[in-house]
Amino acid sequence: MKKIVAALLATVMAASLFAGCGNKNAAVNITKAEDLEGKKIGVQAGTTGETYVTESVKDAKVQSFKSGMDAALDLKNGAIDAIVLDELPAKAIVEQNPDLTILDCDLATEEYAIAVKKGNTELLEKINATIQRIKTDGTYESMANAFMPADGEIKIPEHKATGGDTVIKMGTNAAFPPFEYVEGSEVVGFDITMSEEIAADMGAKLQVEDMNFDSLLSALSSDVIDFAAAGMSITEERLKSVDFSEPYYSSKQVIILKK
């Protein structure tokens, strides 16, 4: 009899212990950037969000995912407490996942640009010329309207035919809407359309290589790709290994939370 009572007691104690843990997890409360301290934070590997959390958030347990979407799945599962990600991809994720929400608190602002191999000024000048052109002739605006519409209804513009004897390889990570993502079986997005403009101006055929974000810089330096357009922010660290074009978009890091 005593044994049974003892066993029962042990079971109840164990159960309450688990319940205690559960409550503690549910009490994760983040309302401002400082609250990230000591939390489990998901980021996309190789992004400025990862650098920010690693360097600026005290005691953060950083978990690097291959994409923001995978981080979102783990956030929904309760495996992490928050995600730090670029604003527009974060918005796209939250739009698809009603149980997630964005905490807008300007963690870090940054500017996206196209990266080329260090010293490849010839290509860089051509890219800059195209960026200049689309900004002045209205193409940029219509691209922005198509991919970042106020009503949230993205209308993918027609592919611009690119052709020619030379092939230009553009590296990207198609898990970063609306800049690059997969629609059906195709990689589409703002950066893809912009790269088509660049290739068309050069009279070259565009080839899109969809790889991991944190492989892009090494792919540039080993000539696997010619340029990288992947919603990539200009940072001091990256400037050591690649050259950046003129910036084409200003972004910031935001926090995604579970509602």
């Binding site: 291959k66 994409s67 979407m69 995978d70 979102a72 799945l73 994720i93 698809q96 996942n97 590296g171 198609a174 898990a175 993502y181 997969v182 629609e183 059906g184 079986s185 290589e209 969809d210 790889m211 991991n212 492989s215 090494s218 792919a219 080993s222 000539d223 696997v224």
Partner: protein, 221 residues
């Protein structure tokens, strides 16, 4: 049911899956062919009496077996092959083939050495040269003996191709990643990929089991 349709069929996703499946099969088949050729050569080099050949084969096997396949694949893709301008798919086939070759070599060597030493002596005493004995007596017996382990290497290879996504190839695993990123459903694309892999490996095992049975018929038992 709706989720299955949305994840596997809608928005041309079935095309994506077919593309991934196609790439996985092409890589696996190509790698098997290259791996078998490299493996056979290496195995013969290892059992030869030439010390240099033996050394080369042993070094190759040691290095290749000691490095994870995904690391090798990235070395091939980002360091070795970029100057040659080969397609990603070709790089993957060569990469997996080179890797598989090391394992196949060891399988073949075990098979050759597993044939009793008396067989070689018998062949030699019948007046066959060493090469002839190898060709007519040792290898046919060895082949039969290694078939099950050789099949296993194919199965392993098919599964290993799942890291091809690291070098921007749309294989089955990468495709399921892409679908997951688009639909935010982890279950359906991952399970579908798992089932397809299972069908592939099961089918292959069955095929080789049939081959094994056919070859067993020639045994006097």
């Amino acid at each position: 049911m709706n989720e299955i349709y949305r994840n596997l069929i809608a928005d041309d996703r079935w095309k994506l899956i077919l593309e991934g499946l196609g790439n996985t099969i092409v890589i696996a088949l190509g790698a098997i062919v290259i791996g078998t050729i490299i493996g056979a050569l290496l195995a013969l080099m290892r059992v030869s009496n030439n010390r240099l050949l033996k050394g080369i084969a042993l070094t190759y096997i040691t290095i290749i077996r000691g490095i994870p396949v995904v690391t090798q694949l990235m070395i091939f893709s980002f360091v070795v092959f970029p100057p040659l301008g080969l397609s990603k798919l070709t790089i993957a086939i060569i990469g997996f083939g080179v890797n598989s070759g090391a394992y196949v070599a060891e399988i073949f060597r075990a098979g050759i050495q597993g044939v009793g030493i008396g067989q070689m002596e018998a062949g030699r005493s019948l007046g066959f040269s060493k090469a002839q004995t190898m060709r007519y007596i040792i290898v046919p017996q060895a082949f039969k003996a290694v078939l099950p382990t050789y099949t296993n290497e194919f199965v392993v290879l098919i599964k290993e191709t799942s890291v091809a996504g690291y070098i921007a190839i749309r294989d089955l695993t990468k495709v399921s990643d892409m679908i997951r990123n688009a639909t935010y459903n982890a279950w359906v694309p991952l399970l579908a990929a798992a089932i397809i892999y299972l069908i592939l490996t099961l089918g292959l095992s069955q095929l080789f089991a049939a081959l094994e049975r056919r070859m067993a018929r020639s045994d006097r038992g």
